[in-house]
């Protein structure tokens, strides 16, 4: 497994989402879009401009949008409904739980502007609880790709290959785009991004790039860190996690999300049950976000490669 790990240029993952939906929709006439007044900022405008007759403006009414998506899916359409993650996952949780998940319908939910890197809009707009809430819903697939290219693939495959509800999480800011178009991307299969034997950094979303930077830094100091990208948080790739636990001495997870109940918890569930090793978790610790520049917030809340490096040295010295 080898991936191109150079940054080809920064690109927002939401653009990948918009491109993926458009590409899938060109092949598949059943794809329909639902808009809740932020069509442009979640990149659904690519689709809406190309296929106005398949795009329904529903106003600022997310709960209605989710129910409407369920109805469209029941009649054989493949609805894509995207809004900010805070509203996509949290405003509509009951509609998702009952109308979408309990009916096990193929609805693609785009959770845009995820994480604290949303920046100056502040806490209300920073989705930091969506992974936790979405991953506990039966039938739901939760996907959190690491860059724009992978988000595009995930959107196309979520539309073409999956049958049930999907929560697809992506961000607002331009971040390094480093995985290849031709990559091996399969739901439920983690990706080994860098081999290593001393510790495994298991990351999701944009934090995969930060994890790689941490690993390169650690290499200079003689610590050989493995980096694993878990783009499908549910169903999670147990095999790659157990393998990491067995071969490396410790695991650290990284996510732009609350640690409690989130991605790190999902990894820990696998580790604790199968092969306990020391673990640490990089993410938000039970607090809301706030306004600030994205990079300032990533720094303040410890979501940087530098913080990962420090935390890893701590685990290894106490292990």
């Amino acid at each position: 497994m080898s991936y191109q790990l150079q940054n080809r240029g920064n690109k927002p993952t939401r653009f990948g989402f918009g491109e993926g939906v458009l590409e899938a929709a060109e092949m598949n006439p059943k794809v329909v879009g639902i808009g809740a007044d932020i069509t442009g900022s979640v990149s659904m405008n690519f689709f809406a401009q190309q296929f106005p007759e398949r795009f329904f403006s529903m106003g600022i009414a997310e709960q209605n949008c989710m129910g409407v998506a369920a109805g469209l899916a029941l009649e054989g359409k493949t609805p894509v409904f995207s809004t900010y993650g805070v509203f996509a996952a949290l405003r509509t949780t009951d509609q998702i739980r009952i109308s979408v998940c309990y009916n096990n319908l193929h609805v693609i939910i785009g959770g845009a502007h995820a994480g604290i890197s949303v920046g100056p809009d502040g806490a209300t707009h920073q989705a930091l609880e969506d992974i936790a809430v979405m991953r506990v819903l039966p039938n739901m697939t939760v996907v959190s790709p690491c860059d724009a290219t992978q988000t595009k693939l995930a959107a196309i495959k979520a539309i073409n290959e999956l049958n049930g509800p999907v929560y697809l999480r992506f961000g607002r800011e331009a971040v390094p785009d480093f995985t290849s178009e031709g990559q091996n991307f399969n739901f439920g299969k983690g990706q080994l991004m860098k081999e290593g034997k001393d510790i495994s950094i298991i990351a999701t979303g944009h934090m995969v790039w930060e994890a790689l930077q941490a690993a390169y830094q650690l290499a200079k100091e003689g610590i050989d860190a493995r980096v694993i990208n878990i783009h499908t948080i549910k169903p999670i790739d147990e095999e790659i996690i157990i393998w990491a636990a067995k071969e490396t001495k410790a695991i650290i997870t990284a996510e732009e999300h609350q640690v409690m109940g989130g991605f790190g918890s999902a990894v820990a569930e696998v580790v604790v049950k199968n092969f306990p090793v020391p673990m640490d978790f990089v993410g938000l610790n039970d607090s809301f976000g706030e306004s600030g520049k994205p990079e300032e917030l990533m720094e303040k809340y410890g979501l940087t490669s530098r913080n990962m490096v420090n935390r890893i040295k701590n685990i290894l010295s106490s292990a």
């Binding site: 403006s57 600022i60 100056p120 502040g122 806490a123 209300t124 300032e296």
Partner: protein, 275 residues
């Protein structure tokens, strides 16, 4: 309490200028709605609300709930102009560590801020809860809640509206910023909300309309609304997004955009010159 129309106009001018200054320094934020609501906010804080900027938590104050957290800049600039905190603090808008969050957050301790908000459609329910509590305790204070016209597309607004009428909350006045636009375009294109006055009256509310840029009209309408007995009242304020800066007036692209430094200088000059 009563200020002359001339005084209100002058105050609104200062508030508009401070909104633009704060947004230009922050580099992001919601210019259109903030400028559009400036006259309504000026009238409320300088002519209608019973409040004490030196004693922000005064128990007998009227409550103002900003349900549309995105227009925080007009709330902040009006609070500062009223004396709740120094005007210069407006230049910390949206910066790390500021009390002036992109969308209002109570945990940051800004005096005069009643509610954390930014997820549309929640504020009217909170206002209903406050008004119920005020009734229970036989309080004289009044609750005002400020809403966008796009925001009315949220179903929760109508659940709250029903409950306010059911409980005869005549200590509650909702305000609708009827500028006819939202993010994706014209409200009538995104999701029609008309017939709006009929909707509110069908839900049991006393409905008022005013020109949201005429102080005489705003003040007299709020006084009439407040005098409503036995049912909640709503003031539909007809406003223009971006009011005060001709090149952006009515343009929905300015819903969520901040002016550049160069634009800010030009906009401020226009507001100063146009008295």
């Amino acid at each position: 309490m009563f200020r002359s129309v001339e005084e209100l106009k002058e105050t609104a001018r200062k508030i508009r200028i401070n909104i633009i200054r704060s947004l230009a320094v922050s580099g992001s934020g919601h210019t259109g709605g903030s400028l559009g609501l400036t006259d309504v906010f000026t009238a409320l804080y300088f002519g209608i609300l019973n409040h004490d900027p030196k004693n922000a938590k005064w128990a007998e104050r009227d409550r103002l709930i900003l349900s549309i957290g995105h227009v925080a800049p007009v709330l902040y600039a009006t609070l500062a102009q009223s004396g709740y905190f120094p005007v210069e603090e407006l230049l910390t808008l949206r910066k790390l560590g500021s009390r002036l969050q992109g969308h209002p957050g109570r945990e940051h301790g800004l005096p005069g801020l009643e509610l954390s908000a930014g997820s549309l459609g929640q504020g009217l329910s909170v206002a209903v809860g406050m008004a119920l509590a005020g009734k229970m305790d036989q309080k004289k204070w009044h609750v005002y809640s400020v809403h966008g016209d796009g925001e009315l597309q949220e179903g929760a607004i109508w659940e709250a509206a029903m409950s306010a009428a059911h409980h005869k909350l005549d200590n509650l006045t909702a305000i609708v910023d009827r500028n006819g636009v939202q993010i994706d375009g014209k409200t009538s294109d995104v999701m029609e909300i008309e017939p709006l006055t009929k909707k509110w009256s069908a839900f049991g509310w006393e409905v008022f309309e005013c020109d949201g840029h005429s102080f005489k009209d705003i003040v007299s309408t709020f006084n009439r609304a407040k005098a409503t007995i036995g049912r909640p009242s709503v003031v539909i304020a007809h406003t223009i997004m971006g009011k005060g800066v001709r090149e952006i007036e009515g343009d929905y692209h300015w819903h969520g955009k901040a002016p550049s430094e160069e634009q800010a200088t030009r906009f401020i000059k226009e507001i100063q010159d146009h008295s």
